[in-house]
Point group: C3
């Protein structure tokens, strides 16, 4: 892992967005001990959702994977900001909670979730391998197709 985080991200053709601003009554990230809890992120890009609706009737599985990647980038923007850009302080991605806005009868949530999980492993190697819970739900904020939250261990 001689490459830096930024080099690896660029090699994937990706870039981090600006970290979201703290909102009124809750915040993007809380650290307690060595654990960092990051709020559920939607796949907002430049302040808007490129896809809205349920998977797969309104958002295809392929589109939902793109949304999953964007939600992951937003999580990493929050985490990177919290670490002040020092990714050596990231010890482990511990847990992802992945919610997919699903049609009744859709059961390939894991495929959508893999777009998030695989990015973590590509970027962080063994440090990126995490536990996760992936479920379908009938409704998400802003009609987002996915929402992802994260727990990480930092140094």
């Amino acid at each position: 892992m001689a490459e830096t985080f930024d080099q690896r991200l660029a090699a994937l053709g990706l870039a981090l967005p600006a970290a979201p601003k703290p909102v009124a009554a809750y915040v993007p990230v809380v650290q307690t001990g060595n654990l960092v809890f990051i709020s559920g992120q939607l796949p907002l890009k430049d302040g808007r959702l490129e896809q809205t609706g349920r998977v797969p009737s309104q958002v295809t599985v392929e589109q939902a994977k793109v949304s999953g990647t964007q939600a992951a980038l937003n999580l990493l923007a929050v985490l990177g900001s919290h670490l002040e850009g020092d990714w050596t302080r990231l010890k482990r991605i511990v847990r992802l909670g992945i919610f997919v806005q699903s049609d009744d009868g859709f059961h390939d949530q894991a495929i959508v979730g893999n777009s998030v999980s695989e990015l973590m492993e590509k970027l962080f190697g063994n440090r990126g391998k995490h536990a996760r819970a992936t479920v379908g739900v009938n409704a998400l904020p802003l009609d987002s197709p996915v929402e992802v939250e994260l727990v990480a261990e930092v140094g």
Copy 2:
């Protein structure tokens, strides 16, 4: 923050209920290290739900916010009991998990969630600012409109 917790709660016109009794096979709260995990709370008041059903067809958004406040009070009753009333031992509300029983097509879960988040900030200031994940679901226990769980750091 010269006021006490009780004074601040009273100023909001609120009071804590009695902490729920431990049930058979799970318990309201578990502490591990400095972290406290509180079981998902429904907006029970005197043992019953004042509102039941999905948001917004059966429970309006305004009613759901009232339910969110009640679930938050139940969480705080558990936490206060665990802390034996010594709120100085509360270091941080770390994470809320907020589930809103939602109609298909309802996407304002964040508004309902804010009723919980804002109470935490009003009562605890910066210590009350937390990470959260807010999602919709098609069904909740006892037909409750909301369920909220909590992780906190204590001293």
Copy 3:
């Protein structure tokens, strides 16, 4: 608690399956400090689901309880493998996240969840008493009736 874990499990007529293999991009278990996070487990048995569909129209509550027990066994298989069979290292089951694939209008998720919670207490006594969040969802991976994730404290 003079009996061993294996004796207690056998007395319940149960046996642990083999722990699931690590998959590509996420893993069954991550330890951080003394906390162990186990990925959401489905009630797979010999690689397949014995029941699929929503509760109660396609999977009865009684069948869903059997599925809950199987998901719990899969969690314990992961945990036991992580502990290399030394169950004295288990200090506490901390939290369960229980998702029940529910028909609209089904609100007895707690009954299904109890199949998981009660097994933990039967096997581990006070160490098995945990916090939990139990919710309904409209869709789960592989059309599973239940998914359960776990946080535990280990020594």
